[in-house]
């Protein structure tokens, strides 16, 4: 792999940019691999990357039915934060946030991580208490956050309306090192690094079945034939239930649509991320100037990557209350992704009832921020059978009643 650098840009500029090589190869699938990952979203690719980097397992294929990052990884609003309440969540999300800090250097690929700060507004007294509690929990967990006053909120976000008609801003939970990153670049950067380690990224190939012998996996049926493996990682977000069905087990998951939209581009007016969970909306501004907006998920099962119009309306209505200046903005684009919601709204990184099959799913509405930490822990789980990062996120927690109750943090926004 030829490294990207300022020097490389100058070199290519001098020869009409004819020397750039393909960022990753598109090989024919081999007959078998030491490990197969289904799903080339951020979580699948990060898993493959750390299987190679941390455990030297490089005879790996990542099989994707569409194109790299074409699932939720390329559809999300890229909020990165780690201000969760429970220790298990704070650990994996903070691991991920920390890895984002150096991801561009680690991958030699500019993922445009921008730690511009994330505010979660407190707009009811209940929320004030909740976020103060989270700030205290974060202090114990070593996650740097603070509860800030309305005046400080206004200082950070001048365009905000503190005394809105329904819910005045009573304060906020501020994580200064939270922010955003370029979602496609995260997928592409990992894919390039995986391909460089000799892994096969196989796009436009759908897994259609999981073949087992004596209760253990021996490979997958795909639209391009059978591919053998004794280690299978299922990392398919909204399609987790479909893959689990192929492997012969059930999940505590329902798939629903989550939407987002962007406005026409305007001049810079907000340089951090603001989340307003009581009114169901959040917003940031992209480098292109678009206001990036998201809200709540639909309430019914859906695989169409299209959501309900009235949710867009509710989200925008809530944000106009909070930011009156956006009321005249035009919507440029709107889209949806299928998110995998678990019974306790926390992810699942686990062994499964089928020997050799592992599953990483349930990130629902908020897994972009977790990609590197999830890949780190899940690779360890697949390679060694145990990871301290994923230990609490097993499937068995639903039977044992050990929920990781983050619904306050993850039920609505990100």
């Amino acid at each position: 792999m030829r490294r990207y650098s300022a020097f490389a840009i100058a070199r290519e500029a001098a020869r009409y940019h004819q020397g750039w090589e393909r960022a990753w190869a598109s090989p024919e699938p081999k007959k078998s691999y030491d490990a197969i990952i289904v799903g080339a979203g951020g979580h699948g690719l990060a898993t493959a990357f750390y299987l190679g980097k941390n455990f030297g397992i490089t005879n790996v294929a990542v099989i994707e039915k569409g194109w790299l990052g074409g699932g939720n990884t390329g559809r999300n609003t890229t909020i990165i934060r780690s201000n969760y309440l429970q220790d298990a969540s704070a650990a994996i999300y903070e691991k991920a946030r920390g890895l984002y800090e150096t991801m561009s250097q680690d991958l030699n690929y500019n993922v445009m991580f921008s730690p511009r700060g994330v505010i979660m507004l407190a707009q009811t007294h209940h929320e004030v208490r909740g976020y103060q509690r989270t700030a205290h929990a974060n202090a114990l967990q070593g996650v740097k956050t603070e509860f800030i006053s309305p005046a400080r909120v206004k200082e950070i976000v001048p365009i905000i309306n503190l005394d809105g008609p329904r819910y005045p801003v009573l304060g906020g939970l501020w994580q200064a090192r939270g922010g955003t990153a370029r979602h496609d670049a995260v997928a592409w950067g990992y894919a390039r690094a995986c391909s460089d380690m000799g892994m096969d990224i196989i796009q436009k190939t759908e897994v259609t079945g999981v073949r087992k012998e004596n209760g253990a996996v021996v490979g997958v049926e795909t639209s391009r034939g059978f591919i053998g493996t004794k280690k299978l990682g299922i990392v398919v977000a909204g399609h987790s239930g479909v893959l689990a069905d192929m492997a012969g087990f059930r999940l505590p998951i329902e798939s629903v649509a989550l939407q987002a939209l962007v406005s026409e581009p305007i001049k810079p007016c907000m340089d951090c991320v603001v989340m307003a969970n009581t009114v169901h909306g959040y917003m940031s501004q992209s480098d292109k100037g678009e206001m990036v907006i998201g809200g709540g998920a639909d309430g019914y099962n859906n695989y169409t990557q299209r959501g309900s119009f009235h949710h867009i309306e509710e989200t925008v209505r809530a944000l106009v209350e909070t930011f009156p200046m956006i009321s005249r903005l035009k919507q440029l684009r709107q889209w949806g992704g299928i998110v995998d919601m678990t019974g306790d709204r926390s992810p699942i990184l686990s062994k499964t009832p089928v020997e050799g099959v592992f599953i990483n799913c349930g990130w629902g509405t908020g897994g972009f921020k977790a990609i590197p930490g999830s890949g780190w822990g899940f690779a360890e789980l697949m390679a060694r059978g145990y990871s301290p990062l994923t230990a609490e996120f097993g499937l068995n927690r639903f039977k044992e009643g050990r929920f990781i109750d983050e619904s306050v943090a993850a039920g609505v926004a990100h």
Binding site: G241, V242, R250, E254, S255, G299, N301, T304, R306
Partner: protein
């Protein structure tokens, strides 16, 4: 916009009038059941890409619960029917079979 006919009051209701209630026909487990049975009842869901039986409440209407058979892959609605039934009635199964010849209830 999703539109379902409420079998209780006959109104064609927009989804803004309705509250989704998740998977229908769950078998309810009581005292004396095993951990696995409770886990399945409380958490495991079929979550199919295709025909789905589900509960809805006509929340901003007559207020009654009813059931619907719907395709999660196309959003096509096959039928709505009474909530007072432990399994999909024959006319609902026929309505689905007419549109999905390869579908069977176990799938």
């Amino acid at each position: 916009m999703l539109i379902l006919e409420c079998p209780c009051c006959g109104v064609m209701a927009d989804e803004t009038e309705l509250a989704p209630g998740g998977e229908a026909h769950l078998k309810r487990y009581g005292p004396g059941s095993s951990d696995e049975e409770f886990e399945g009842y409380l958490f495991h869901r079929v979550n199919p890409k295709g025909v789905h039986f589900e509960r809805w409440r006509h929340a901003n209407g007559c207020g009654k619960w009813f059931l619907a058979a719907r395709c999660t892959n196309t959003l096509e609605v096959f039928a709505t029917y009474s909530a007072q039934t432990p399994e999909p009635p024959q006319h609902v199964i026929d309505a689905i079979a007419a549109r999905r010849p390869n579908w069977s209830i176990e799938a």
